[in-house]
């Protein structure tokens, strides 16, 4: 009999655990600790509540932190400098509710649902990465909540006909556009492409192929490789034999290391190397020093770009403001995040309300010049007004070389 009592107690514990899990943890789940100082919103006529699930932990922890700082930059600015969002006659304070999605798709979905249902946010800002954005944007769509984002750029998610998803950044397939155009102008004839076989790099590579062919450059080969690769010698050997003018490659930071090293080891010396992720990261330049000289890379945004707007001022002004808040210069993921929030802000003001339909229409109609570049969404919800920038490592410095409007240095071709 004692045994049955114990068994019963155990089951009661389970009930408690289950319900605690379902109900209690919503309250338990403290919002991820943001660095933003608490702002007194009582001075405003009301509050616009915005939700975001970002990766505090897991494989996107670094980018997640940058994105959060980007969003928080806007919150600080709009509440402290700008004086609140103008809606009709009133001035509304802005508040962002954050959760940590642990870089995990299930958790991200769970948290977005929670933001919509429990926290009753008016709008959503995007998570980091295409994978997480694809899953969560479907939930936003199904619940008719607008999500503006700047760090999930795969084309596939804009082919689903969603009405509530907007991207301020350049879509993945256009990552290489300005670089390819600049190279075509320098007489490049042939190219090869290698990309990691995951969502985002594949979108980039497919776009690159289109842009190359549109500019009359022949694509000699396209090679895929899996995640977590440890050796790219074979790919580079193949490419060396083809002798192309340009090599385009990329996926992740580690791939950039592998490509640069393998090219060096195999004596593969194309006139230009364009690597998707990596060259815009100062750490890579520092670690590979000479080997990375002359390598090109796409960038959404750089502080040196010649963009300016009525909000935040110029790109350089934004960078200075950001540095004041966080003690480090902004990477483009942070700028994209700030720009997403800014686009939403402008649309709310234009709509004069926080009503989803009104704001959606305002976003569609939005035409604005900002520190991040021009913003204008097409029918898919993608900002096609802003071109993708291209940087080149020159004497160990990362300089914008294309498009011409944003360039601060001339493209060096062929590289050293």
């Amino acid at each position: 009999m004692r045994r049955s009592v114990r068994a019963f107690v155990l089951l009661l514990l389970l009930v408690t655990a289950t319900t605690a899990c379902g109900e209690g943890s919503v309250e338990d789940a403290a919002p991820a600790a943001g660095e933003a100082a608490p702002v007194d919103l009582s001075a405003f006529d009301g509050t616009v509540r915005i939700g975001a699930a970002l990766s505090e932990t897991g494989k996107f922890a670094v980018e997640g932190r940058d994105s959060r700082q980007g969003y928080n930059t806007w919150v600080r600015w709009v509440n402290e400098e700008y004086g609140g969002i103008r809606i009709g006659e009133g001035r509304y304070g802005a508040e962002i509710v954050y959760y940590d999605d642990e870089s995990d798709a299930d958790t991200a979905a769970n948290l977005i649902q929670r933001l919509i249902d429990e926290d009753r946010v008016d709008f959503l800002l995007g998570p980091y990465s295409s994978g997480l954005t694809t899953g969560t944007s479907a939930i936003a769509e199904a619940n008719n909540v607008i999500m503006v984002e700047g760090n999930g750029t795969s084309d596939t998610m804009f082919e689903r006909g969603f009405r509530n998803l907007f991207l301020v950044a350049t879509v993945a397939s256009d990552y290489t556009k300005s670089a390819v155009e600049a190279l075509a102008a320098r007489g490049v004839r042939t190219a090869v492409i290698a990309h990691e076989d995951t969502t985002f790099p594949t979108s980039v590579a497919e776009g690159a192929r289109r842009h190359l062919e549109a500019n009359g450059i022949e694509v000699l080969a396209i090679e895929k490789y899996p995640k977590d690769i440890q050796d790219v010698s074979a790919i580079m050997t193949k490419f060396r034999n083809l002798g192309p003018d340009v090599f385009l490659g990329g996926g992740h930071y580690n791939d950039a290391v592998l490509f640069v090293n393998a090219a060096d080891e195999l004596g593969f010396e194309p006139d230009a190397m364009l690597i998707t992720v990596g060259p815009s990261n100062p750490r890579l330049v520092e670690q590979l020093d000479d080997d990375v000289e002359g390598v090109l890379g796409p960038t959404q945004w750089e502080a040196t770009m010649a963009y300016e707007g009525d909000w935040f001022g110029s790109a350089a002004d934004y960078a200075a403001y950001y540095r004041r808040l966080w003690g480090e210069p902004p990477v483009y993921q942070a700028a994209s995040a700030t720009a997403s929030a800014l686009a939403l802000h402008l649309a709310i003001e234009a709509a004069g309300s926080t009503d989803t339909d009104a704001v959606r229409q305002a976003l569609r109609a939005l035409r604005a010049d900002t520190f991040y570049g021009p913003i204008a969404f097409d029918e898919r919800g993608v900002n096609t007004a802003k071109p993708m920038g291209t940087i080149q490592v020159q004497d160990g410095e990362i300089l914008v070389v294309a498009p011409d409007a944003a360039a601060v240095a001339a493209l060096v071709y062929p590289r050293g």
């Binding site: 655990a17 929670r114 479907a138 995951t198 594949t202």
Partner: protein, 357 residues
């Protein structure tokens, strides 16, 4: 504790206080079933509960082979991924080409069947292996199938994956999964009392002995392995439809296997209630760790895992019923026994060593 008829089956002895547990389980089920109807239960809560039910379901399935049959599968999540992918392929045909995509119900069912079918083929080959070799072969199968899905891009969308039309009725999925988990619990409870269940346990205890006594061990263990694959495939198929998006790296996640193993161990290996209690508790503990420890949550999980394995080998159920299966009765454990809290080597008091090698 009185027992019903003599020879009520292997199970009755191994599962304590059947009636109290049964009543308790029924109460939990009723609470979970009525909760959403009372109103005030948000979609977010439903989603949380659904995800928890998913991990409970996968743990129950893992326990079928890992706990009941003694074949510790380190690649079980592969069936989740296969179920998810098969369904996604069938449903998304409409958005990709001229063909008409399948409606969800048949797509989900066929998705599960595909997983079960593949599990039958692969299980037939890998279940010849014993102990860690089986585990490693399944781990290899997991990675190999994930990479094959990635390479087979015309069908699977390669690394880009497939998107499904969003259909997010949280209430519906919650009830479907609740019913599935309830059915699985009742099913495993019943299975343990049947000849089939007794035969599985005979395989776990002594496969050669079972075989010489006329049990077609290959057939039975492959059957239970395929069923586990099919059932986990079903959860995968439902998940794909809720997640609206699959790619190789989110459909095939090692963590799902690890959670199933850890949850089952925490609850009690080879018991009916173990995986349910364990997976629920793990889900809950993990939520706590994540919210309160952030960076250190992985560390805490690692420590927790080691502590469970070394010090609570019979799991939560074992705290109540000493006769639950201990880890030490699996694999090459023949010489080891657990008496009280301590491990002993050598024959049981007054007993004879069982056949080794």
């Amino acid at each position: 504790m009185s027992r019903a008829a003599p020879g009520a089956g292997a199970v009755a002895r191994r599962w304590p206080a059947g009636r109290a547990v049964g009543v308790g389980a029924l109460i939990v089920l009723v609470v979970l079933a009525v909760l959403p109807l009372l109103g005030g239960t948000s979609n977010a809560t439903l989603l949380t509960l659904t995800l928890m039910l998913t991990s409970i379901g996968v743990a129950i399935n893992w326990n079928l082979t890992g706990g009941f049959t003694g074949y510790v599968d380190f690649g079980h999540a592969v069936w989740f991924g296969i179920g998810a992918y098969a369904t996604a392929i069938l449903i998304s045909l409409q958005s990709n080409g001229p063909q008409v995509g399948w409606p969800p119900v048949p797509a989900i069912l066929v998705g599960a069947l595909v997983a079960g079918f593949l599990a039958a083929i692969i299980g037939r080959a890998t279940m010849r292996l014993k102990g860690p070799y089986f585990s490693i072969a399944m781990l290899g199968t997991f990675v190999a199938l994930r990479e094959i899905v990635r390479v087979w891009s015309p069908l699977t969308g390669g690394g880009v994956g497939l998107t499904l039309p969003p259909y997010l009725n949280r209430m519906l999925f919650y009830y479907v999964e609740l019913a599935l988990v309830a059915a699985l619990v009742v099913g495993t409870w019943w299975l343990r009392r049947t000849r089939f269940g007794a035969a599985l346990m005979a395989i776990r205890e002594d496969e050669v002995g079972a075989e010489t006594r006329g049990i077609d061990t290959t057939l039975l263990k492959t059957a239970v392995f395929s069923f586990a694959g099919l059932s986990t495939g079903l959860f995968g198929a439902l998940w794909a439809y809720q997640n609206t998006f699959v790619d190789p790296d989110i459909a095939f996640v090692e963590v799902r296997t690890i959670d199933a193993v850890m949850g089952t161990m925490l609850g009690g290996l080879g018991t009916v209630a173990g995986p349910v209690l364990g997976a629920a508790a793990l889900y809950w503990v993990r939520e706590l760790l994540w919210t309160h420890l952030l960076d250190a949550h992985l560390l805490a999980q690692g420590v927790l895992l080691i502590v469970i394995v070394l010090f609570v080998p019979r799991g939560l159920v074992g705290l109540v019923d000493r006769r639950g299966t201990s880890l030490f009765e699996l694999w090459g454990w023949k010489g080891w026994r657990l008496e009280g809290r301590r491990l002993h080597r050598g024959p049981a008091a007054g007993g004879e060593a069982e056949a080794a090698s």
